[in-house]
Each structure stands twice: as C-alpha cells, then as structure tokens.
Amino acid sequence: MEKLTFYALSAPEKLDRIGAYLSERLSRDVSRHRYGYVCIAMEALDQLLMACHCQSINLFVESFLKMVAKLLESEKPNLQILGTNSFVKFANIEEDTPSYHRSYDFFVSRFSEMCHSSYEDMEIRTKIRMAGIKGLQGVVRKTVNDELQANIWDPQHMDKIVPSLLYNLQQVEETESRSPSPLQNTEKEKEIPAELAERCLRELLGRAAYGNIKNAIKPVLMHLDNHSLWEPKVFAIRCFKIIMYSIQPQHSHLVIQQLLSHLDANSKSAATVRAGIVEVLSEAAVIAATGSVGPTVLEVFNTLLRQLRLSIDYELTGSYDSAVNIGTKIIKEHEERMFQEAVIKTIGSFASTLPAYQRSEVMLFIMGKVPLPSMHHPMEHGKAGESRNRLIQIMLLKSLLQVSLGFQCSNMLTALPSSFLDPLLSPTLMEDAELRLFVLEILVSLIDRHDSRHKFSSISTVPDIAVLKLKVDKCSRQDTLFMKKHSQQLYRHIYLSCNDPCNVQTHYEALYALLVMISIELANEEVVVDLIRLVLAVQDLALSNDDNLPAYNRCALHALCAAYLNLISQLTTVPAFCQHIHEVIEMRQKDGSYLLPEDIFVEKPRWSKSADHIETELLFLQSKVSEVLGGSGYNSDRLSTPYVPQLTDEDRLSKRKSIGETMSLQVEVESRNSPEKEEKAPAEEITFETLKKAIVDSVAVEEQERERRRQVVEKFQKAPFEEIAAHCGARASLLQSKLNQIFELTIRPPPSPSGTITAAYGQSQNHSIPVYEMKFPDLCVY
C-alpha cells in the first residue's frame, strides 16, 4: 500500500490509470460478492485520495465517485455504509481545481433514500440512516460553495435533502421519550440520527444565501403540511427554532415572510393547523428580533389581522365561504377561538421585538382597523353585522393590549397621537362592558412606563405607600404637553366609565390603575388638582345617583375614591390633606366599611343598600380638600370648582341629534330606569333636566332655550376644540366666581366679559329663571 501511495505521488499522471484499475477490480469484486477485496480496494482508493493533493486528482475522483456509487447501489448495508464513509472523507477534502462535469444527482437521491431506510434490523437501520445523513452532509459541504456545481439549492435537491433530514429529526420524538440524562446523551450523541440530522440541517441553513432561503424553507413547510405536524406543533416550533438560529440573521425576515404566505395559503385549512403556523410564527418572530424585521412590518400585521378577521367570519358563518370540497369540514368554534388567541399572542410577540416608534405605528395601524361608526370604515348593519363588529372590536383591542404590554415610550405625545387616542376613547367602545375594560387596560399599560401596574392590581387603602416602592419621575416637558392636550379627554373617559351600571370589579380595578398611573407617570401640579377634582366628581356621582346606579356600583365608586385619594394624598405629601383623607377613611372603617375597597373589592363584597344617605363625615369634602391643598400652594380656586366632563365633537353631534329624542322621552320616562337613559352621557342629562324645567315653566321659554342652545352648540362647533378647552380652562375659576356673585345678586345685570361664553350667558340672564340658571354654568363652561 505504501508503495502504491509513493508511486502515485511520484507519478501523479498515472493516478487516473490507477483509479480506473482499482475501480474495475472493485466492481468485479462486488458483483462476485468478494467483500474482503472490496474493502481493500476501497481502502486503497481512500488512501490515495487522501495522499494526493495534486492537480491530477480530478480524473481520479471520477473513478472514485463511480466506485462509491457502485457501493451505494449494492443491497448490502455494509457496502452502503462503506461507500458513504469514503464519500464523507472525500467531501472533507478541499479541492482547489474546478470540476465541471460532476453531478451529485444520484448521491442526493440515494442518500435521501438511505435516510428513510426501513431495514428490519433496528441497529442496522440506524446505521444506514446515519450514513445517509452523513452523506447528505457531505454533498452539501462539497457543493455548497462551488459555483460550478449543479446548484444544490435547486428545489429538486432541496426537496429531497430537507425532508430527509426532518424525517430523521422527527423520529426521535416518536421513538425516544427524550428521557436520557444529558450525560448519556453526549455519550450516545454519535448514535442518534436526529442529532446528526439537526447538525446537518443547521450547517445547511447556515450556508444558505439570500436567494436560497426560499428553496430551503419551502420543503420544510411542505413536510410539516404533509405529515400534519402543525397540530402538536412542538416539532414545528423546534424546526423553526433550528432554522431561525442557524440561518444568517439578515435573512430571518425571509423566513417570517415565508411563514406568513404559508399562513395565507392555508387560510382555508383547519383552525388547528393555522393556529400551529401562527404559533410557530410567534416563536420565530421573537428570534428574528435580533435581525431587523425590515420594512415589511406593517405587512406582517396586515396579514395577521386579515387572518383574524377571516377567522371571525368563519366562526360566525360556520363555514369557509367558498367551500368547494372542503365544505364538509365542520368548523369548531373553540378551535377558531384558539386560533384567534394564537394570532393575538403572535401580534404581541411581534410587536415586542419592534422599536418604540414602529410600535406606535403598529398601534395606529391596528386602531385604524377597528370598526367605528363615525370613521370611514363602513359599519355593517343588522344583527349579524353587529355581533361581527363587536367580535372584531374585541379581537383588535385585545391585540392592541398585547402590543401595548411592556411598551415603554419615552414620549407620550408621539406614542399616543390624537389619531390614536380619539378612536380609542370613542363612545362606541365604551358602551360594551368588555370593550370598555380593554380600553382601560390599554390606557393603563401605555401610560405605565415603570412597570408598576402589578402593584395596583387590587384596590386598597395602603396606610403607607412607601411599601410599594414607587418610582416617580419628574413629569417631562413632553408629558406635560401631552396632558395639556389630552387630559380633558382622559378625565372625561374615566368619568363616564365610572358612571356605568354594568361595571364589575375588574372595571373598577382598571379605573383605579389608570388613575394611579396618570398620577405617578404624568402628573404635575395641575394634573393632580384636576385628578382630585375628577375623583370628587365621581364621588358626587355616586352620591347624587342621578343615573340610578345599583347600590353595589355606588359603594364601589366610593371605595374607589377612598383608595385613590389615599394614594394621591400620600403622593402629594401635604400633611393636612393626608390627615383629612386619613380621618375619613378611619371614620369609614368605623361606621361605613362598605365604602372601603377592603369590603367591596373582595370575592363576596359586602355593601349597604342605604348608599343614599351617607354622613358627611364619611365623605371627602371638596371644600376641605381645596382648603388644605390651597394652603400648600395648589390652585384652590380650581379645586373648588366641581369637575364636569367636557364634550367631545362626537358628543356634541349626538347631542344635537338627541334633543328631539329627549323631548319625547322625558314625558314618558319619569323614572330613569330605562336603559337608554342610563347610557346617555351626563352632558345630555343636563339637556333633559333643563328641558324638563323649561317645559314646566312655559313653552315659550323652552323655545327660546332651544334657540339659545343651538347658538351655543354652534359656537362650540365652529371654534376648534383646543381653543375652547383652553378658553374654558383658563376662565373656569374666574367665571365661577363671577357667576356666584351674580347668583347672589340675581337681578343685577352682569359686567359683561367678552367671549362667546359670556354672550350666551348674557342672553340667558335676561330670562331670569333661577332654577335653570343654577344648572347653566355646567352647560356653559363645558
């Protein structure tokens, strides 16, 4: 042997002749079943191959490969394995000369076939399969970097290689329970085809270039489809984890795209399949986070949302619309639900990988998809349309919530533009209890930037908030701006949300959290004052009971106020304020524990039916609060003004419409139990009240009153909202004191300040209807 090697080395030009001779010998031996000689010949070929690194190796390789092929053609497993081993040795040699006319078609086919070996003897079967995988690895190594080779990335090769690897990968899960300890595993590593297959797959994918990814992923998807492996999804997830971790990071978005288009292609498959794909997608997305997901972000969300809508349609109609052959499949509602949950989860995990600016973009995008009556989206009418709308709203809000979770924006103003806030706070989303809760939760998680939400998951009156270890940063300039712009909207939303009889504990908890979040994240002095006013107004709401809230809700509101005031008093660190709050809470503990969160927000709430008559000691008094806070430099004038929600554009629109309605309603509906009444915003209530009074007085007055109102409404509508709000805010206290003055003097004509409000005011003054005027400031200011 040594002689032969030496000869070959010294006379490289003879190498091809040697090869030819050896291979001829070998093929003869194979056919004559003289396996001993076969082994020797192969050994010789191997050694020559290893020894000769010269140029002339090319021709020798021809006969070498032919021999390997010959061995692979044999039925004997030993020969197959022998051939493979030689091939692997060959594959590890770096060739420096190009080989133009070598084709590995047969090898790919044969090795793939070996990967699927079903030889009776388990041990031998494993060996053959191992050999197959190694062989494929060899082919890949050999060809992947060689541009002259038949392209290994062609679908015709990939379709063989990838499923073969996956098939072996998947075998472990079926045969072994994955129980052996890690130590054993490392020992046995060489014995398990799956391990090898995994390594091979990683190697393959790691070498994939941009243009080849698609060809490599497609067979994976096909394989998972064909073997219905989306459903238990463990394997699918494992596969894609391998893929995502081994491909070059800059290509990872390609995989995501492939998955998405596969999802689209499967949009008529069973929900479980789609859920599997989506789940895989979400896992993959998290991994893709390191590489950028690229400009296709919105496309990703678009696809997911489209799938969500489709699924809702399926659920409602109970069939895939263009059911040709698949129509017989029965749609299982809970499966669709699972799918929807999976999509929402995926949306969340996708979003969590995005930078802040893209996140707010995405939120805006999702918000734009929420069907709202006033938006350009056509609402579907009819009962089916309504339930569909509601489902879509719920799903999209859920998605939004997912996106907003853990979203920490530095700048509220850019994160929550009015184009996002306006639809989110729109009244349509307030009517339904579930939707309302989502909106609140979204707001909470958006405002919460220090992850303090969980500290306020239940409502309580903590005697010392130091235990919560709150992080309170100074409110930044942008945040102040944000609050200037949107605070009234937020307050109004909170106020109106409080005033809903369908609220349950979770709603109150969310409201509490929202109040707290605003106070710790966005509060400056002005905001604190406003929040206290707001909460006191909520207390009045519970007290006056204009909307006939059930006793539970009223007690809950009281408890909410107590909890919040307790917190804010300690945040402001004004001792007198703290004291007042503390006193009231103590009083309640003694005489009215049903007004405290500890009694109301528990599993079995205890509340009193007698919520109508609450002693003043048990209440937080506006006058007292403004007095103590005024002493510490807070704007006491402002504090002593009761909070009344502002109207939004939409409200004003609906109000105009509802004037006529209210007219007819008020005659019949004396008791305010009718549901329509309860749903109406307090602003409209004033309409009712005033009209009622007006009618009692005289028809003529009513006429005038309506005329006047129309003017006011028009004025407000024509002026931009911000202007009015600013105007009102600035003048609120001034106007209030003026009004008080006037009311005392009743008849004396007012000093007429300029501006729209006063104009309207002056007009009504002429009518001199005191009862009505008492209500008037509310209407006028807001």
Partner: protein, 203 residues
C-alpha cells in the same frame, strides 16, 4: 470504456396509492421473492437490477416510492429525474383506480415531459375479488396515452415482462432521441460515468 458494466442506465420510479403492491413488484423483479407482510415504505426505496436485452446491458435504477400521502413531497422530488414511471393500482380496490387521475396530475406537474408512463393493475391473483375490469383500465390507459399491463407480484405474472418491455421501450426512445439531436449525443445511460447522467435534460 471497457470498464463500463452497462450500456444503458434508466431510472424508473414506481408510484401509486398506498398498499397497491409497488414494493412487492420491485422485490419480485429484483430479488425474485414475494415478501409476505411487507410494511409500508418509508419515503423512498432504492433497488438496482441489470438486465440484458439483445446483448445490451441495461441497468435499471428503480426508485420505489411510498404511497402514503405524508411522504408526497419527498416522493415528488424523485419524479423529475425519472425516465419511466410505473403507475400502479390494485385491481381489487376501486379507490386506487379512482385516484389515478390525481396521480396523472402529479406526473404532469412534477415529472419530465419525455417520461414514459406505464399503467399497471396489480394483484391479478385475486381475480375473484376484482373491482376494476380489464377493459375499463385499458380504455383509461388508452385515453391517457399509457401502456397497460396487469401483473401479479405474488404469482410473478407479467412482472418480468413489465420491466423488460419498459426497458425495450426506453432503449428505442433513447435511440430515437439520439437521432433527433445527434449533435449533442448524450444518450441516456451511455455516458462514461454515472455522473454524466443528466439524461432527462432533453430540452
């Protein structure tokens, strides 16, 4: 070169529903045995057999595919390089016959245009349980331009004939092609090494 041990090499792929007897046909032909209780093929199986026709050595590379749906994607990848396809159905199983158009669609989609397709009705030893009449099958084969043959892997009826006829047909086809484009005379299987076998690239 003298060292070549064959004159022609052809790739034959067997396809058809699961359980129609593809593996048994191949086994009967290559090994001369009928394995009772043959399990379902996993993925693909490979056999080789060299036959001699009119003094010419013909090497047949036989790829026996799994009929099961779940392996469809890997089996499809083998159609492409096939010189001939043996589309098998079970004469005692109406279902396997009714699936034939579907298989033809697959062939259309994945296989080479020049591929020769043979329709085989297997299991004629179970004649008393026949569900698909010979006439019907012949008509079908005729309408699709396929050769038709009925076999029994168990009794070894027509199995030899099936492969040998196919080999003859492949030879004449190959010769014809060689005449047509004799400039590039890469006859199927006539290449020097196995690596030359891009015989499916007639286009």
């Amino acid at each position: 070169m003298s060292m070549e041990d064959y004159d022609f090499l052809f790739k034959i792929v067997l396809i058809g529903n699961a359980g129609v007897g593809k593996t048994c046909l191949v086994r009967r032909f290559t090994q001369g045995l009928f394995p009772p209780g043959q399990g379902a093929t996993i993925g693909v199986d490979f056999m080789i057999k060299t036959v001699e026709i009119k003094g010419e050595k013909i090497k047949l590379q036989i790829w026996d595919t799994a009929g099961q749906e779940r392996f469809r994607s890997i089996t499809q990848s083998y159609y492409r390089s096939a010189n001939a396809l043996i589309l098998t159905y079970d004469i005692t199983c109406e279902e396997s016959f009714r699936c034939l158009p579907e298989w033809l669609r697959e062939i259309e989609q994945y296989a080479n245009n020049e591929v020769i397709t043979v329709l085989v009705g297997n299991k004629i030893d179970l004649a008393e349980r026949r569900e698909v009449s010979q006439q019907r099958a012949e008509e079908f084969a005729g309408s699709q331009n396929m050769y038709y043959l009925e076999t029994s892997a168990k009794e070894s009826d027509n199995v030899e004939k099936l492969f040998l006829d196919l080999a003859c047909r492949l030879i004449s086809e190959a010769r014809q092609n060689a005449l047509v484009n004799n400039v590039d005379s890469s006859l199927p299987g006539e290449g020097k090494t196995i690596s030359y076998l891009n015989c499916c690239n007639f286009n």
